[in-house]
Each structure stands twice: as C-alpha cells, then as structure tokens.
Symmetry: C2
Subunit: 541 residues, 2 copies
C-alpha cells in the first residue's frame, strides 16, 4: 500500500496483504498499518489497484472501511477478482468498485491520473501516472516487459516514453528482480516449452501453479488444444480463478477442452491434463493431497508427469522439497524449473528495469517492491544509468518522501521526511484484525518450544495449608507416562515451596505464584533442559 | 549414517544430525534411527567418519553408546573436532577415537578399508573404499574436485582411477549439486575475489561464514595478510573452530595477524577484519547481534563492509533476508553471493560428478546425500553415461540395498530389499533423546497456532453443583483485557454445560470434561475463528 498526498487530497495505490513470518505463529495474514489513513480518512479520494494479486488486493476486505471506504478503481479482470473477495466478506453492497480501461483518465482533487498497460503473470495489470501541480509521479506496479506475451498486449512503452518526454518527477519501479541480469524469459517461450513437455508425456499430466497465474493457466489450455488433451481443474482457488477469468474473457478456450475432474476416468491417461494448486508445497492444496494419497478424485501413479510451474516464495523451500520427495517416491515423473524453463517470473530483470528507467527519464527515483537488498540493487542500476545517488530514495515502511518546490521557485526538491508514520504489522488471526500483540505471540512461541506445565494447588483458606497433592497437567512438554519419578519429585517440590511461603500468613497469593513459576521452571529445566510455560493455579477453599 | 554389513560384520560410516523441520517446534536436533544397530551392536566393528561437518559427526555424542560404542576412525582435523564434541559431553574417556591418514588401510572382519582424499570446504575429507569378498564399494563422502584448493591437496583422483581399474561393484556418490551444470568454482577464485573486495573496502570488513568452513577462514587470513589488516573473531563456535584448526595446522597464519576482538578499537578501521558467525540469519549468532545493535564489542556503522560468504541452507532464506534488511538499514555495505563469487559450494557440480563416475566405473550406482530430486538428477546423469537404469538404486532412509552373488556364481546382483528397517526421526530436545513423539509435537503445534484456554471448575462432591465461577486462564489466545464480554459469556456457557451434565449424578468426570472441551472449543471458534487448546480442570471438594 502506498499513499500519495497533495494538499488535502490522498490517493491510495494498492492494498495488499503479506503472509506471516515464522515468528508469527498462528497468524493468518499481515496487513499494512492503516492508522495514519484512518485518522485522515475524510481526505482519502480513491483506492487505485494495479493488478489482481493478493499482495496488492488482499487487505481490501479487512481495511477498506478503516481507511474511509473510498471508491475502488480497477481494470476489468482485477475488478472481477476483487468483486469475488468482497462477496466472500459480504461487502459487495457497501463498497463502491469501479472498472476502468488503461486509456481512461481521472481527476481526484489535485491529482490527474492516467495509466499504461504493463506485463505481469496476470493480465490486465497497469502502471499509474499521477500528475500533480509540481510534477508527475510514475508508479509501475508489478511489471515485466514481454514483447510476446500470451494473453494480453505488450506493455505500453509508448505511453511511458511520452510521459518521459514530458518530464517525470519521480519514478517508483518494481525491484523484485533487480539482482537478475538480462531480460525476463517471454511467456511465449514458456508456452512452447510446456507444450513440448506435454506432447512428450505418455500418461496423465498434472500442471501445478498459482491460481493467480492466469497467463500460465491460459498456456496450459493452449497446450491441451495442441496436444489433443482435455483439462480438468483441482483446487478451490484454481476453480474460482478460472471461472472469473473465463467469464471476463481473460482466459479463452474451446469449451470441449474443459472436463470436470470427476470425469477424468472416462478418458485415456494420455488425454488428461489436470491443473492444480499446491506448487508451493502447501499440504492441504490439491497437489499436496495427491502426494499424500488423500485426494478424493486423483490417485497418482507411475506414468503420471507432474509439472511444477512456479518458483518458490522465500520460506516455502523446505515444503517444496518435501512435496517433491513425496512425488518422486510415488514413482511419478517430476519436472521443475531447474530442468526446463517452465516458469517465468512476472517481475522484470535488469534489462527490463533499465528500459523503464530509460523511457521514464525521472528526476527522482524510488525503487519499490522487494527486500531491501533488491531495492539497493535497483538503486545501483539507476545510479549506473546516471541518476545522482542523492536523487534516489530507498524508503522503509512508514517513511515519507516529500517532494516540494524549493522556496516557492520552480525547482522541486526531494527528501525523506524525519517524521515516520506508525508502522507496526497489523496481524489478522481469525476474526481479529490487529488484536494480537507481542505478548500473545511470545506466549505462543514459548508453548511451541517446550509446551506448558499447569499445576493446580488447593489451599485451605484458614490454615493456608496445601490440601492433598497438587494436580499436574502438561501438554507439549513430555510424556507423563514413563516420567513418574520426575512428576512425583516435582509435586514434592511444589508442596515444599508452598509450605515455605505460607509459614507466615500471606496477604495474597502473588508472591507464592511467582515463586512457583520461577522455582518450578528452574527445577524442570535442570532435570530436562526444557523450559515449558509454568502456570501455577491456586484454589482457595 | 550408512551401515555396511557383510556376514557378521557391520561398519558404520558417518553419524550426523539434521536440523528440525518446521513441523518439529522446540526440537533441537534430529538424529538417525539407531534401533537396528542397537539390536546388533555386538556386531558393529567401527565407525568411520568422512569429514568434520555436523551432518556427519553431530549425532556421535547422542548415539555412540546406543550403537555399541564402536571405535571411531577419523583423519586428524576431523578427529580434533570430534574430540571437542566428546569433551563437551564428557565422553572423551569412554569413547575410543583413532586418527588415520588417507594412505592408511584397515581390516575389520570381512571389510578391507582404504581411503582417498577429496576436496570439500573443510580440509581433511576422505572418501572410502570398502573391499569385501564380493567386490568393492566406494563411498565418496561429501566432495567436490578442486584442482587449486587453498588449504589442502587436490582430490586423489589417481586412487579412484586405480579402484576403477580394479573394478568397483558399487559407487555411492554425493548428489547435493547434481542439478548444477558445469564445474564447481575453485576455492582459489573465491580467495582472489575476497582479497579484491577487502582491498577495496574503506572501513572495517566483517566476513560472515560458517564456523565449519575452515577453508574460507583460511582465505580470510590470507586476504588479511595481503591487504595489511588484522583479523579478530566473533562467535563462540568460530573461536572454537579456529582454535582446533590452528592447533592442528589446518589453518596457518602469522600470529601477528590475529587480534583479540576487544582490541579492535586500537586499530584504524581500515586495518580490521572481523570473522563472524551468523551468515544464515541466526538472530543470536555474532552477526545477528551486531545487526540488532546487541553485540557487546562491535557496533556497526556506515563505512563497514559486510561480506556474507555462504549460501542459504533451505529454510533459512527468510531469516537471511531479515538480516540483510537490518544490515542495509544501518547503512553498511553488504556484499553477498549474487553480487560476486564469494562462496563456492563444497559439493561437486555435474562435471565433478561425471568425473567421479568416469574414474570409478562402477557396475552399480547409488546416488547419496541430497533431496530426492537431486538423487534423481544424479541418477539421470549416470544413466546418460551408460549405467543401466536397473543398476541404479535410489534409497530412502531405512531402505536396504542387497548385493549378493547370484546362485553362488561369480556375478553379483543388486536389489533394494523389501524389508525396511525402522526409520523414525529420533528427536533430541534438551536432555531427551527420542522421548518426544507425535502427541507432544501436535500439542505444541496447536498451542503455537492459537494458544490455550484453561478453565478450572470447582464442584461440590456431594451435590455435584459448581461452586462459584469457573476460573479462566488463557495464554497465546487473545488479550483477556478488552474481551470481558466474551469471557463472561464463556463462563456462563461453562456453568450451563456443567449443570446440564450433573442433572443426573455422574460416576466420573470424563464425559463432562469431554463435553466442556468440545463445546467450549466450538463456542470460542464461533466467536473468534481461533481454536485454542481447551483444558477443563475439575476440582472436587
């Protein structure tokens, strides 16, 4: 999410989500910090979406109302995907969703917006030009430059060149592949390779990719047509994506080529292609269930060819290894990107980025999208092309870049503001948005590490003597069975601690509780070198 | 760990550990299933170690006694590293550790052992030839072929060629890089690049790598000598590794070049190199602490150059991204492998693997070491070189390859046995080895996801009526504060469930406990879409 502000007007570009990192156990999604925009929601004029991927649209249902429920503007396919999300969250009536075409223009207060098509691995992506009274800002969105894309027109380079000719104040450009030399492989080449591999396969072919890689799905249908196969789909999100894209004409195929998954048994193996989710090793996605032998309609067998057409999202590497191990163990043939070019990134390589810089000829440059080292690599690229290092700004989340006329003159100066906006990851967990904080996360981590150990001590309120033996419940710590002696010793230890503390009458139980927590914690660590969360409960009767 | 068995004799090669996968929260290490060897421990003649990395020696302290405490054989540096581990675990007196040189030979029952040097990124690595009455098995260990290694001799290709000439029955060869075309970069080139980068740096240089990459550490000392800098070391494991390697002559440098970390302030910045641990993004390793500003002696600053000289272990990608983000944010210059060749893998690329196959000329081939898809890639490589697919065996953990003379004749046949040995990952957690099982892990996972919810209900044993309000303790589920209404409603719900169940007198509390667990679980899910572990405790008074 990026916010553009001029005078009283605010425009938001994209509103995506992030998947939680490993130190956020149990969290479903992370969405942007919205607090500044919430405070200024009456000034938010519009939310413009560059394309329909989750990291650009996924937070809409969670946050649209918190940022003032501005009208959303998106191209047709993007709008179709957003509409489905809004319906899922029963927001379709309360949120205004407008469609536009890349040649449309809009004015929102001080901003005049125009658009240019870019290539990506979902169709209908655009970059945005925001004209303001002090100059034009160009925001590329996610992009690559593909002269022979499969399912859309090449990026509208002429529009970018025109903007460059008129003068671009600031270019904000996608940095995801700023470390990759050369140019991105064209989707055309990927299509040809997929077709070759499918033509060569003896049995069934399962192509696994992201549901959101609409272009890849199109290519599989193309290959099916050319090789005389039919396509079935497995996976809820894949089904949905196909439905939306087909209905909007973003994916085109002869209806005869499509077959329902439950009917694949009626065809010969060499007539079948299954497109499935699960290429990132997700255990519960379609391919994951096939690999575990849990899939209701598809039982993998020797002779099946599985094509993994995606690249690993950082953090998923191990899950993908496990998936591949399972697939190989079933005797299936597995084809992945290291063997053939069967996946192209949707993000431009260095030559694509250079071309963007050369066409836009910006005064100021801000590398966006990607980890810090990718932004730095993109900055070096821009510097090599002649943009002064002082005119390149690498921002962190919450940073503000201020562009303003110097002392009222014609020259615009740029600087990262010393003010930082609030920037805490807002965590979504079940129905809660932002209600989970450090303490809850830390408790989850502690229990994940070594479990927990609850002891319930019944104490006579008059004499403050322990009644009977403390009860012990542990989970995730160790098996109680086979550790009778340790349990017995711990019970004795608990009683000793209680008796020592209640030798003089206690006003309240806090000091005893603290002592139990610490001493039993140390005792268990000494015996096991594990540190469960110790929870003493005192029941007074 | 691999076990070789002929008649009554068993030889073990390597005894390493693995790091836990994400579905093993809280587990320290995973060690091999030792149960077959434990049952046959009187037959185990020796444990031979190929080199000193943790995935080949790390399980020795945990398992050596469980597999019959066989004598260990290792080359000098490997033995030095093992000795230190044994001392840590106070096992140095009870375990017999023997040193050998690559030209030594041994006989253990039916096995005649000889060795050949290989290159890797720790010196003193060997491959093993096991001569048996029915033929010779060659086990490469981890290897690459480096004609210009820094700190050791090139691999002893002549010995492998001689074995090949005499006839190799089975080759077992390292597959880690079977998907990488070409040849491994020589350590010489890495050394030259490191020197260039260090020569160019204006301020301090911090080189971060694995403590076990002894060759890399040597190269940093070389570069220091040539660029007039001194080297300090940060990180316990790095300190230890340097001490062992220096004392054994495996790392050589002029003593003047070494400086203690606390003394770096006495030098100019451009005279300092710090070698540190933490290149995998480990938060508590030296570089991780520097990045967080928590390091006692080193505060990073603009002008520092940080060289990350290692490649990510799958699963660590995200942690490394976070580390790099933190380093860039501090304004330091970060140099990593995508920018320059500053790290070479210790595992041979396809050309190295082809050379091994060509020299050994085995009848049977078993790709080892690496994920299944790497083993498959290595198998394809061997097949392309003319080894029949039926003579290539890809084993899973617990599989047995049987090589035996066919019907007593001279021809040896090979097949994977239908018998599978027990093969469960043995988890080490604190002092426990193998005492953590599925239930404990699952409990940890549940609590990591959504925390836990304990309710303590006091019941009058005569009337079976609830006394007072149930007490509620939750951790990792949600903040109790601000959720008063939910807590209040849940308490009412708990009392209702109790009253409903005790309307007729209960013999025991199990049905009530089960009902509380299920109904409160569903109730909380309905209200929050979270599923904490619900633990009802009933106290009878």
């Amino acid at each position: 999410m990026t916010a553009f502000e001029f005078g009283n007007d605010i425009i938001i570009v994209d509103l995506g989500l992030m998947f939680p990192s490993e130190d956020m156990p149990g969290i479903d999604y992370v969405v942007p910090d919205y607090h500044y925009l919430q405070k200024n929601k009456h000034r938010v004029k519009a939310l413009i979406i560059t394309h329909g991927h989750l990291d650009h649209i996924g937070a809409i249902p969670y946050l649209i109302n918190r940022v003032g429920n501005p009208p959303i503007y998106a191209t047709p396919l993007t709008a179709g995907i957003i509409r489905q999300k809004l319906e899922e969250f029963k927001l379709q009536k309360s949120v205004m969703l407008n469609e536009f075409k890349p040649d449309d223009t809009f004015s929102f207060g001080a901003f005049n917006l125009s658009f240019f098509r870019v290539n990506h691995n979902i169709p209908d992506g655009v970059g945005i030009a925001l004209k303001t009274p002090i100059g034009t800002v160009v925001h590329t969105g996610d992009f690559k430059i593909d002269f022979t894309p499969r399912d859309e027109q090449p990026a509208e380079l002429h529009k970018i060149a025109k903007l460059g000719g008129e003068g671009v104040l600031l270019l904000m450009s996608d940095s995801t592949n700023a470390e990759q030399p050369g140019s991105t492989t064209s989707e055309r080449e990927i299509g040809i390779n997929l077709e070759k591999l499918i033509a060569k396969a003896d049995g069934r072919v399962i192509v696994s990719t992201f549901a959101t890689l609409v272009s890849r799905i199109q290519q599989v249908f193309d290959a099916a047509e050319k090789t005389g196969r039919k396509v079935a789909v497995s996976g809820y999100s894949m089904d949905k994506a196909l439905e939306i894209a087909y209905n909007l004409g973003a994916i085109k195929f002869d209806k005869n080529i499509y077959i329902r998954l439950k009917d694949i048994g009626k065809l010969k193996d060499e007539e079948v292609i299954i497109i499935s989710t699960g290429s990132q090793g997700q255990e519960n996605a379609a391919l994951g269930r096939m690999a575990k032998g849990d899939h209701r309609q598809v039982r993998l067998k020797k002779g099946d060819t599985i094509i993994l057409s995606s690249s690993p999202i950082p953090g998923n590497e191990r899950a993908i290894q496990n998936l591949m191990n399972a697939l190989f163990s079933l005797g299936t043939k597995v084809i992945y990107n290291k063997m053939f070019d069967i996946h192209a990134s949707g993000h431009g390589y260095q030559n694509d980025l250079r071309l963007m810089l050369a066409l836009a000829k910006p005064k100021f440059f801000m590398p966006i999208h990607g980890e810090r080292h990718m932004l730095e690599a993109h900055a070096r690229l821009a510097e090599d092309m002649g943009i002064a290092r002082d005119n390149i700004f690498i921002l962190s989340n919450g940073n503000i870049l201020e562009l303003a006329k110097k002392g009222g003159g014609p020259v615009v100066a740029g600087a990262i503001s010393k003010t930082k906006l609030p920037n805490s990851p807002v965590m979504v967990d079940g129905l809660g948005i932002g209600d989970i904080g450090e303490v809850v996360l830390r408790d989850r981590q502690v229990m994940a590490q070594d479990g927990m150990f609850v002891t319930i001590i019944t104490i006579d309120s008059n004499t403050q003597k322990v009644i009977g033996d403390p009860e012990i419940i542990s989970r995730g710590f160790m098996y109680m069975k086979g550790n009778d002696q340790l349990i017995k010793d711990t019970v004795t230890k608990i009683k000793d601690i209680c008796n020592k503390h209640t030798a003089n009458k206690l006003e309240n139980w806090s000091p005893l509780r603290a002592a139990l927590r610490d001493d039993i914690g140390s005792y268990l660590f000494q015996k096991t070198e594990r540190r469960p969360m110790v929870l003493p409960v005192i029941i007074e009767i």
